[in-house]
C-alpha cells in the first residue's frame, strides 16, 4: 500500500473539522440534530461500576459525571468538585461539591448521593478495590465529603477519574436499591449532559439532551471543562458486522462509524461526504504474557531467552500487517502520558540475538517440555502473534503447542496455571501503570507475577510526594519489568480510526468518544 496518500488524507481529515468548525459553525448548528453512531459491540451491563468494557463507558460518560475527570494531558481535574484539600499526611481528602446541580430525575445532588455512590464504587469496582483498598467516603455537611485512605497514594485522584470503571455519581435511592437487590443498577440517572431515553437491547441505545444540565465554565479539555449538548439526540446503533458498518460509512447512513475493518480503511479515504479521524489516545499495549507460576517459563532464563530471540518489528508486522496500525515501543506508558512514558527498558527490547537466546535456553533447566500457547481466532492479530511465538520458540529449540479456543474458553482456561505457558494479549491504555494487572503480584492476574521488587516500586510511586518526584521510580519500574518479564511489551496499537460525516463538527476523543461539544450542521 502507498502510505503517502493515506497520511495526507488522514491529515486533511484531521484538519477539516477544525477549519469547518471555525467557519460560522454557530450560525449553521442544528439544535434538533440527531447523531447516528454505528457501533460494533453491545454493552452487557450499563452499570459503570461493574465493568471496564468500552461499550459501557463510551455510553455512560455522557450520562454520568464523576468527582474528577482527566484533561487532555491525562491529569485529573475537578468535575463535580468545586474545590478540595489534602491533609498534610496525605490520608484525608476533603471535597467541596458544586452546588445547584440536579440529576436527570430532577433531584438535587448532595453529599449523601456522593457518599452512597462512591462507597459502592470503592466496594464493587475493580479499580476501587485494587487501588484504594480500605478507603472510605464520609459526609461532612450537605455539600462536603471526605475520603479517608489507609495509606497515602499519589494516584488517588487518577483512580477516582478512571475512564473505564467510571466512578459515576448517582442518586442515593438508586444505590440503596442496587445494594439491597445485590443487582446491577438498571435505572441510569446521572447529572451529565445527556440522559438515557431508551435502550433497546441489541438494536440501539438512545440518549437525549438533558435540559437541566449545568456545565462547568472552564474551557473544554479532554473529558473536563465546559460541556455543551449541541446535538439533541444520540443513537448508538449496534451493528455487529464490520462490512455493514463500512457500507454505512460509505453511504452516509451514520454520522460516526466506529470499529472499522482495518483492511478497508483505504477505501474510505476518498469516499465523498466523510473524513477520517485518528484519535490521539486509546490504543492498547501489545504483549506476550507468561505463566510464571509453573511450567518452563517459571524459569526467568527461558523468559529472557524468548525475549532475546524476538525481532519485534517482524512480529508486529505479522500481527498487525501495517505500521499505520501499531508503533514499536518498549514503554508501558504511551508517549502522550508524560508522567508514565519511559525509555529505560529500551536496552532489553528488540534484540533479535538468536545465538545468545539458544545459549540461554541450554543454560536454563529446559529439557524439552512442551510449551502451551493459548490462543483464540476471534482476535486475528493476537492469533497471528501466537503463531509467530511458536516459530520463534522453534528457532531457539523450544517445543510448543498451540491450543486454540473461543474467547470465553480462553478466559476460563487461563485461570489455571496448568493450562498455559504463553499467550499474546492486548491491554487497553490505562491512566496510571498501577492499573495494568500483570505488574502487581497482589492482583493474582493469570500469569501470576511474583516480583517483590516490582510490588515495592509500585508502592514507592504511590507514596512519592509528586509525579515529578516519582519520575526516577517510573524508570526503575520499567527496568525491573524488563528484567523480570511479567510480560514482553511489543509496542502499542494505534487507536482505531473513526469515519466522521462532513456535516459533523468538533468531534474529539479521549480513550473513547467525546460527544458533547459535537455540532451537526444544518443541511
Amino acid at each position: 500500500m502507498n502510505k503517502a496518500p493515506f497520511a495526507a488524507a488522514l491529515l486533511l481529515g484531521l484538519l477539516l473539522p477544525l477549519a469547518g468548525g471555525a467557519a460560522g459553525a454557530a450560525a449553521q448548528t442544528d439544535r434538533d440534530a440527531v447523531l447516528n453512531i454505528a457501533y460494533g459491540n453491545r454493552p452487557g451491563t450499563l452499570d459503570p461500576y461493574l465493568t471496564t468494557n468500552n461499550a459501557t463507558s463510551d455510553v455512560d460518560r455522557n450520562i454520568f459525571e464523576e468527582l474528577f475527570v482527566i484533561n487532555d494531558k491525562f491529569q485529573p481535574v475537578p468535575e463535580l468538585v468545586e474545590s478540595y484539600r489534602v491533609s498534610p499526611d496525605n490520608l484525608t481528602y476533603t471535597f467541596n461539591l458544586r452546588k445547584g446541580l440536579v440529576f436527570h430525575n430532577g433531584q438535587s445532588l448532595t453529599a449523601d448521593d456522593v457518599v452512597a455512590s462512591m462507597n459502592r464504587w470503592l466496594a464493587v469496582s475493580t479499580q476501587g478495590k485494587a487501588n484504594l483498598p480500605g478507603a472510605r467516603f464520609d459526609k461532612l455537611d450537605a455539600y462536603t465529603v471526605s475520603l479517608t485512605l489507609k495509606t497515602p497514594s499519589l494516584i488517588t485522584l487518577n483512580i477516582l477519574a478512571d475512564v473505564k470503571n467510571i466512578a459515576a455519581i448517582m442518586p442515593k435511592s438508586i444505590i440503596d436499591r442496587a445494594q439491597g437487590d445485590k443487582q446491577p443498577v438498571t435505572e441510569l440517572i446521572g447529572t451529565g449532559p445527556y440522559r438515557l431515553a431508551e435502550f433497546k437491547q441489541g438494536e440501539y441505545l438512545h440518549l437525549t439532551r438533558f435540559d437541566g444540565y449545568i456545565p462547568r465554565q472552564e474551557p473544554a479539555s479532554g473529558l473536563s471543562g465546559k460541556k455543551n449538548a449541541y446535538v439533541k439526540d444520540i443513537y448508538f446503533r449496534y451493528i455487529t458486522d464490520e462490512s455493514t458498518r463500512l457500507a454505512g460509512a460509505l453511504t452516509g447512513e451514520y454520522d460516526l462509524v466506529f470499529n472499522l475493518p482495518k483492511d478497508n480503511i483505504d477505501q474510505l479515504i476518498h469516499a465523498p461526504g466523510i473524513h477520517l479521524y485518528a484519535p490521539a489516545s486509546g490504543g492498547s499495549l501489545i504483549t506476550y504474557l507468561f505463566n510464571k507460576q509453573t511450567g518452563p517459563f517459571a524459569d526467568i532464563k527461558l523468559r529472557r531467552a524468548f525475549n532475546l530471540a524476538l525481532d519485534v518489528n517482524s512480529v508486529l508486522v505479522a500481527g498487525y500487517s501495517d505500521p499505520q496500525f501499531f508503533s514499536a515501543d518498549s514503554s508501558l506508558g504511551f508517549p502522550q502520558q508524560v508522567d508514565w512514558y519511559s525509555e529505560a527498558g529500551k536496552p532489553f527490547y528488540n534484540q533479535h540475538k538468536l545465538d545468545e537466546a539458544r545459549a540461554l535456553v541450554k543454560e536454563s533447566g529446559y529439557h524439552g517440555q512442551e510449551v502451551v500457547i493459548i490462543a483464540t481466532k476471534e482476535y486475528a492479530e493476537l492469533y497471528n502473534l501466537a503463531i509467530v511465538a511458536q516459530q520463534v520458540l522453534k528457532q531457539i529449540g523450544i517445543n510448543s503447542r498451540l491450543d486454540v479456543y473461543d474467547w470465553p474458553t480462553v478466559l476460563q482456561r487461563r485461570q489455571d496455571p496448568k493450562n498455559f505457558d504463553l499467550c499474546a494479549l492486548e491491554f487497553s491504555m490505562r491512566q496510571v501503570l498501577h492499573q495494568y494487572p500483570f505488574l502487581d503480584s497482589r492482583a493474582h492476574f493469570p500469569g501470576w507475577s511474583n516480583s517483590p521488587d516490582i510490588d515495592g516500586v509500585l508502592d514507592q510511586i504511590k507514596q512519592a510526594p509528586s509525579l515529578k518526584a516519582a519520575r526516577p521510580l517510573v524508570d526503575k519500574l520499567h527496568v525491573l519489568t524488563w528484567q523480570y518479564l511479567p510480560v514482553i511489551v511489543l509496542g502499542h496499537t494505534q487507536p482505531d480510526i473513526i469515519a466522521v460525516k462532513n456535516t459533523v463538527q468538533g468531534y474529539d476523543d479521549l480513550i473513547g468518544p467525546i460527544l458533547w461539544n459535537v455540532r451537526v450542521n444544518k443541511q
Binding site: 451493528i239 454505512g248 447512513e253
Partner: protein, 316 residues
Amino acid sequence: MIWYTLHRILALIPVLLVVAVVVFCLVHLTPGDPALVILGDNASPGDVLALHQQLGLDKPLPEQFWRWFAQVLRGNLGHSLFLGDSVASLFAQHLKPTLALAVLAQSIAMALGIGGGILAAYRRGRWADRIIMALATFGLSIPGFLLGLFLIFFFAVHLRWFPVVGYKSDGIGLWQNLYYLFLPALALAIRIAALLARMTRTVMLEVLSEHYIKTARAKGLSEWSVLWRHGFKNALIPVLNICGESFGSLVTGAIVIESVFGIPGIGLLIVDSIERRDLTVIQGSVLLITVSYVLINLIVDLTFGFIDPRINVSRS
C-alpha cells in the same frame, strides 16, 4: 381432528424434556465461565467465587438442572445473567424482527419460487425453463452471507436504493419497515425460492401430464384456468410442505443474515449469548425455538387436511 391436535401437543412433552436435558448438558459442559466474562480481566478469584455463588453456579450440576427445570415447568425460563431481563421478555423482544424478516422472506420466496416453477414447467425445455433452472441452481449454491454482502454493496452502497441495515423499529411505519427489511429478506428468500421453483416445476410437470388436465384443455378451458385451478391446486401439497419447513428454518436459522444486516433477531440473541456464555438465555431460547419449530410443523400438517380433504390427518 381435536384428538390428533391434542396428541401432537402431548407428544411435545418428551421432545422438550430431551431437548432440555441435552441443551443444559451441552451448555454447562462447554468450557467458558460467564462470571469471568461479566467481571472482565481484572477480576480477582474472590470476585469470581462470589459471583458464582450469586448466580448459583457453585452448586452441583444435577441441582442446577433441577432448579432451572422446576422453574421452566412453572413457565419461568429464568433471567439473563448479563442483562437482568427475563429470558421470555428478551425472546419476545428479539422475535419481532425475526418474524417480520421471515414473513417477508417467505412471501418473496413463494412469489418468485412458485411463479418461476409454474412458468418453467409450462415452458418446459424452452429458454424460460433453462434460465429459471439455472437461476435456481445459482440460488441453491451461493452462501447466504455472500449474497447478503453482495446485495448491500450493489443495492445499498452502489445504487443507493436501499439502506445498509435491515431493521429499524423506532416508529417508522409499515412501508419504511418493509423498505429496511427488503434486502435481508431477499437474501434469505433466494435459497428457498430456488428450492420451491425446482419442486414446483417437478410436481407441475407430473400434474400437467395427467388425464384430467387433458380433459380440461379438451373442454376448452383457458390456459390460466388449467394451470391454476386444475394444475397448481393439485400440486400444492408438496409445495406447501417445503413452505412449512422453510418457514421453520427461516425463524430459527437466519443467524448469518441477521448478523450481516444488523437485525436484532433471535439469531443474534443466541450468538451473543453464546459469546457471553449467558447460560439461561441459551437454554431458554433453544427450548422456545424447539417449541416454535414443532408448532409450525403441526400447523402445516393440519393445513393439509383443509387443503385436500382426502388427507385425513387424524388417521395418519
